[in-house]
Assembly symmetry: C2
Homo-oligomer: 154 residues x 2
């Protein structure tokens, strides 16, 4: 089970150097249901997700680079490339700031993962996070892979 809130970040009021950063490339073998392959630095993962916005069932296994490359032959849509910065917050949570690359350059989103819906709803949002887009399907990574950057972000 995954409980997440997601925000459309416009301005990052601090330098990103020094934060842990993962270079992520993710693609989709299927959008519905979601079958995703992801490279994160030198690790590879296969993920299947159920339906849903803030809460969804998710299953992930580590795969080898060779398995990743075989599965890559079956992808649909475009791959999504981003640098993910892990930013510890004073509240104890970790913000995941995604800085998109390639055709999605200029897009920034920030996500926080929670244990419970109460935690998710009670979370005090730092101002720099920007607009809450937890329920905006255009910013789901599946939509970004299928349709590219949403128009109103240009």
């Amino acid at each position: 089970m995954e409980i997440e809130r997601k925000f459309l970040t416009k301005k990052i009021p601090f330098a990103l150097e020094g934060f842990v950063c993962k270079q992520i490339v993710q693609s989709y073998i299927s959008f519905q249901p979601t079958i995703r392959i992801r490279q994160s630095n030198d690790k590879y993962f296969l993920t299947v997700k159920g339906k849903g916005y803030m809460i969804r069932e998710e299953f992930e296994i580590a795969i080898s680079q060779q398995e990743y490359e075989r599965l890559y032959m079956k992808i649909e849509g475009n791959e999504v490339r981003k640098r993910r910065y892990l930013i510890p917050l004073q509240s104890g949570y970790t913000a995941e700031l995604d800085v998109y690359e390639g055709s999605l350059e200029g897009l920034f989103t920030t996500e926080v993962e929670f244990e419970t819906m109460e935690d998710a709803n009670g979370f005090v949002v730092p101002e720099w996070f920007g607009t809450d887009i937890s329920y905006d399907r255009r910013y789901k990574n599946t939509s970004l892979a299928l349709y590219g950057k949403p128009k109103d972000n240009n």
Copy 2:
């Protein structure tokens, strides 16, 4: 987590009519890792499995017929068709007897699922179950889909 023992059944000493039966068709989008789609009567499922023989991690979600048909376009190998009979045992367990069809006709396997390894190891095997093939990779459904019926079963 799935704990299973599997047997190569040669002779079924009772009539199968009357037992609950599912018509199953399953195919593989990927063999390693295992990404399986399955039709069971009028229901459809997507399953991802980790590595392993008797114990393996498994995640399954229900999908629609339309989703199944889209995913079917990405399968590798042959589909595996079988009728699965659910046979209650005196021990309280349920045996799943698979009667394979099509190119696998003549092959019968029986599986029992357990909660713990202790249960699996302590299970008293009914004689009609046949040889234990829990660790014989040739009878895994992925192998059957890739290579067909093992030679020594002809």
